[in-house]
């Protein structure tokens, strides 16, 4: 589903540049549940944003479902995002002024889907997540766990092939976190590819593969593509 080849991301800092990702080579198959881990500043979120087509300023090759993303313009990448990807954020990021129902409708409204069809999709998702009773509530009227539940529901409402989750349980207490992770697991079992960023070993254990990042380098990936050197010195980053 995903192939990254020598993907690099830099930021201009004064006269020089700072590398956030360096020569990243990753292959992810459909149906995987991948965890990206690493210390703060390792480049996890940046990698997630590149995978989610939210970041344009990288170099290298990126293939997504037979699309050569690196050859696509911004508009086409956004199209891929809309069609195949769902996002779950650490801080839920529900839109405060919209009800639960309307929050679920937002990503669908950005696609060419008729109002009637959208209503059916939202109703089905509400039902699937058992939050029909909360559809007219505003985010401020929900608990953190409930908000993130809606966040996940919003990510899957469009039946994405890939869910990207950035610290999905970062703001939740353990029982709520467990509930959300179970949900992810269930979605993965139903065929959705999931890539999560987390600091939590417990959360990582729900997945079937963990990629370690350090200072922008992939320092550990059990399924690293053959012949593509993950050349960073293990856990040192010393030759930069």
């Amino acid at each position: 589903m995903i192939q990254l080849r020598n993907v690099e991301r830099t930021y201009k800092t004064g006269p020089g540049v700072t590398y956030v990702l360096r020569r990243v080579n990753v292959d992810i198959q459909s149906g995987e549940f991948v965890t990206i881990m690493g210390p703060s500043g390792a480049g996890k979120t940046t990698l997630l944003s590149i995978l989610g087509m939210l970041d344009d300023s990288w170099v290298g090759e990126f293939y997504f479902l037979d699309h050569a993303v690196h050859k696509l313009d911004r508009k086409k990448r956004a199209e891929l995002n809309r069609q195949y990807i769902g996002f779950v954020f650490q801080s839920y990021h529900l839109l405060d002024n919209l009800t639960v129902y309307e929050n679920l409708d937002v990503p669908l409204s950005y696609r060419n889907i008729s109002r009637h069809q959208r209503a059916a999709m939202v109703a089905e998702t509400l039902d699937r997540f058992q939050i029909v009773g909360k559809k007219d509530l505003y985010p401020s009227q929900l608990s953190g766990g409930q908000q993130q539940l809606v966040g996940v529901a919003r990510a899957v409402v469009g039946n994405p092939k890939l869910i990207l989750a950035d610290e999905p349980t970062g703001n939740l207490h353990s029982s709520q976190a467990k509930e959300i992770m179970e949900l992810f697991k269930k979605l993965n079992d139903q065929g959705t590819t999931i890539i999560q960023v987390t600091h939590s070993e417990v959360n990582a254990s729900y997945g079937n593969r963990t990629i370690q990042l350090f200072d922008g380098w992939v320092v550990n990936d059990p399924k690293a593509p053959k012949g593509e050197g993950q050349t960073a010195p293990a856990a040192s980053g010393g030759n930069r």
Binding site: T45, L48, S49, G52, L54, D55, K75, A78, N81, R82, F87, F89, Q90, S91, H93, L95, D96, V106, P107, Y110, R111, R154, D166
Partner: protein, 821 residues
């Protein structure tokens, strides 16, 4: 007091701390307050500044109330006489007789100067003492040949000779002894350099409303008492002169405070302008209130801390209002500088054009930011400060102090109440702007329609020369005709001149009107008849179309059959549905006593209508008579009694400066005859709409300013909203929102507010523009074109103002959604 000082100190520190905010607010307020100060200085000058007379508030103008509405500014000799002899309320009166000019001779080249004939005691009634000598005595008014000079003429023609008293001047061929010189500061309705005595008894046969009467109330008598006395006198007049036309058509005397009467023509326009700048100021206030509201949001923590430390609500509100007042006083100070600059422009405008049509007492070239104007500025600055400060001050009380302290600024930042407050301010701004735009569009369209009006003649390459034929030698038709014929011959010989003709008064100038003779048309006799004496080539020179019959020829001379030409307005009014050609018209039939009588004349031609009074007034019924056939009595009325300026209209092949060759031509015909003025007809036309132009220019400026302020307000509001919604926009983009959708979302928000403001503004404009109905020409106050153009203009600017922040919103990096802590 100590609290106030502390608030002021703290307020100044806060303003210093945010120089960007302070500068923007001060500039916004300066624009609003400056425009208000500048216009108020005009309003004060015209309506409130005491006239340059002793106790000017005791002076009243004697006018007549027409039965069909409106007032007549002048009275007939019979009415004036009744007031002067029977009143019980006036201390004295000042009488002005029909205008006359003076052809000065001797002591230099002949020169035309405006002159007036006034009653004995005229200057005393006004409360003005001559700088030299004295004013007219009753004995002089009876026929004495004495004169009072203006300060300007005494300086320019007589070298400020202090021995001028007792010297003789030659005016219109007669000799007058100078008995006084007026002070430099003396001003009266129209400029006059020579003042001559006259008395009512000489004019009792005149039935026209040609006599101006100003009276000074006796000490202790109120205006209401004077009006009561006026009603008493009118009852007596109605018994004695009930059949006179001026009694039948009027309801009685109306004594109007003199200053109010002088300002009557400007009053509604100035109040309209003052209303317009008040709206501009309100928009500025809304802008600043919006800015302050945003700033209060950022200061929620500070305000919460103050409350936590025990500050009462009143104290917090007081602090915020003090800051707002400080801000508006700074804006007021900058506004005074702006007004000072604007006044320079206004003075130039008024001096150049409008002053021509204004009473001289209202000397707008002396506009100044004097004490009363500055007091006005300080007062409106304080009011503006309180208004602008109240909205954010009240909002500051809504937040929960502990919430603000706990969660910091962000959680309080996007409160719905504050957002609603700012939205409401913007809606108000848009509504006010639209009202101004509609007002401006109406006036502009009026002005353009007025400029585009068909004059009935071709003003291009047409010049108008005016001469006073008030000298005794011109008191008969033969002399006038002979002089004009010789002069026209000479003028036609000037290079560049295509044709020339004479007329007793030029279009758009004062002319003679006479009672309408008895004619078949039903509505005909209620109208006065405009009477013009013309030379044969008048219509061809003016390029006035001949509709029926023929124009005059040289054969229509003194001994030939009496003929006349009428205009289309008269033909339609007096011969509705019939042919006027060949009809007999006897002007002045039965009026031998008044000296107006003519002989029956045959209508030999009908010409097109020409604008005679002004561009915005319908053409009156007119009769044209060959100058050579004008009866001596009417000739005397035209050039002697009323002193109308005889005009020569001169058609040229292109732009030519005729002043020198024309003066030479006149000198060759009569060395004692000066030329009063020479000007292109197009300039006279342009001058006649000068005030409408000034009004349109000022309204355009104010509407432009309002639009700019509203656009800035909308831009600031949406920019603020975008900055508040950066994260939301990022999330939406992360969820797949295309940039066009984000652009549309922000713009929709702006346009929705503008749409609500537009609806409110339209409703208000529909109600308010009715007040401007009297200023409009050719359109009604609900003119659809003006409304549509205004709305389109507003929407165009709103789209632009919304587009910029909306475009910025599309640049939001969706990563903010991921990076949010």
């Amino acid at each position: 007091m100590e609290t106030l000082l502390q608030d002021v100190r703290y307020g100044l520190r806060m303003l210093r701390k945010s120089p960007g905010f302070t500068l923007l607010a001060v500039i916004t307020l300066a624009l609003g307050i400056g425009a208000n100060t500048a216009i108020f200085s005009v309003v004060y000058e015209v309506m409130f500044r005491p006239l340059p007379y002793a106790q000017p508030d005791r002076l009243v103008k004697v006018t007549l109330q027409w039965k069909h509405g409106g007032i007549a500014d002048s009275v007939t000799p019979v009415l004036a006489s009744a007031v002067l002899e029977n009143n019980r309320v006036f201390q004295s009166s000042a009488m002005e007789f029909p205008a006359t000019g003076c052809n000065l001779a001797g002591g230099g080249a002949p020169e035309y100067v405006p002159a007036k004939r006034v009653s004995a005691g005229f200057f005393g009634t006004l409360g003005v003492a001559p700088a030299l000598g004295r004013e007219f005595l009753e004995s002089e008014a009876a026929g004495g040949h004495s004169a009072v000079l203006s300060y300007g003429l005494w300086q320019s023609r007589f070298g400020a000779d202090r021995n001028i008293l007792g010297q003789q001047i030659a005016c219109n061929g007669e000799t007058y002894t100078v008995v006084g010189v007026l002070p430099r500061s003396f001003r009266y309705e129209r400029r006059a350099d020579v003042w001559l005595p006259d008395r009512l008894a000489h004019h009792l046969q005149d039935n026209g409303l040609n006599y101006d009467l100003i009276a000074r109330l006796r000490p202790g008598v109120s205006l209401a008492q004077a009006q009561e006395d006026g009603r008493r006198m009118w009852a007596q007049l109605a018994r004695e002169h009930g059949s006179a036309w001026y009694v039948r058509n009027t309801e009685g005397f109306n004594f109007i405070p003199y200053q109010r009467w002088l300002a009557r023509g400007l009053r509604s326009s100035l109040l309209f302008l003052l209303g317009a700048v008040a709206l501009v100021l309100l928009i500025a206030v809304a802008n600043v209130a919006g800015l302050m509201l945003g700033r209060t949001t950022a200061r929620a923590r500070e305000i919460a801390l103050r409350a936590a430390l025990g500050a009462t609500r009143a104290r917090i509100v007081g602090q915020l209002i003090t800051e707002a007042v400080l801000l508006s006083l700074l804006g007021g100070a900058a506004g005074v500088l702006l007004a000072w600059y604007l006044n320079g422009g206004l003075k130039a405008i008024f001096a150049a054009k409008v002053a021509l049509h204004m009473p001289v007492q209202l000397d707008l070239t002396g506009l100044a930011l004097n004490g009363p104007v500055l007091i006005y500025t300080v007062v409106i600055s304080c009011v503006v400060g309180i208004l602008a400060g109240t909205v954010p001050a009240l909002h500051s009380l809504r937040g929960q102090p502990n919430a603000a302290l706990k969660q910091g600024e962000r959680s309080v930042g996007s409160s719905r109440a504050q957002r609603r407050g700012r939205n409401l301010l913007l809606v108000g701004e848009v509504a006010l702007s639209l009202m101004l735009l509609v007002g401006c569009s109406l006036l502009l369209r009026s002005f353009l329609l007025m400029r585009g009006v068909d004059l009935g003649f071709n003003p291009h390459n047409l010049q108008v020369a005016q001469l006073s034929l008030a000298s005794r030698k011109f008191d008969n038709t033969a002399m006038v005709t002979q002089f004009q014929q010789k002069l026209l011959e000479k003028v036609r010989g000037i290079p560049g001149v295509v044709d020339a003709a004479s007329v007793s008064s030029a279009p758009l100038e004062f002319g003679l009107n006479l009672p309408m003779p008895e004619l078949p048309g039903k509505d005909c006799s209620d109208n006065p008849l405009e009477y013009r004496a013309v030379s044969p080539s008048y219509f061809s020179t003016m390029r006035v179309p001949l509709l029926r019959g023929r124009t005059f020829t040289r054969t229509d001379g003194a001994g030939a059959a009496p003929v006349m030409i009428i205009n289309r307005a008269m033909a339609r009014l007096c011969w509705p549905g019939k042919d006027a050609l060949g009809a007999q018209v006897w002007i002045g039939k039965g009026m031998e006593k008044e000296g107006l009588t003519d002989q029956p004349r045959q209508v030999v031609g009908i010409v097109g209508d020409m604008k005679e009074y002004s561009l915005d007034q319908a053409t009156p019924p007119m009769a044209f008579v060959p100058q050579a056939q004008v009866p001596d009595a009417i000739d005397g009325l035209l050039y002697q009694s009323f002193g109308l300026l005889s005009a020569m209209v001169i058609r040229t092949s292109g732009p030519v400066d005729l002043s020198l060759p024309l003066a030479r031509a006149v000198r060759e015909v009569d060395p004692q005859q000066p030329v009063a003025s020479v000007a292109p007809m197009s300039q006279l036309v342009s001058d006649s709409v000068a005030f409408a132009r000034v009004l349109a220019i000022l309204m355009s400026a104010f509407a432009g300013l309002a639009l700019l302020l509203s656009a800035v307000g909308l831009y600031a509001l949406l920019s603020y909203h975008v900055s508040q919604r950066t994260q939301e926009i990022g999330i939406r983009m992360a969820l797949g929102a295309p940039r066009e959708r984000v652009l549309a979302m922000v713009m929709r928000e702006g346009i929705a507010l503008v749409a609500v403001g537009t609806a409110v503004g339209l409703a208000a404009a529909l109600g308010l523009t009715r007040l401007a109905a009297s200023l409009l020409f050719g359109i009604t106050a609900t003119d659809a074109v003006s409304f549509v153009v205004s709305v389109l203009c507003l929407l165009g600017v709103a789209l632009l103002a919304s587009y910029l922040p909306a475009r910025r919103a599309t640049k939001v990096d969706p990563l903010v959604a991921l990076r949010y802590e």
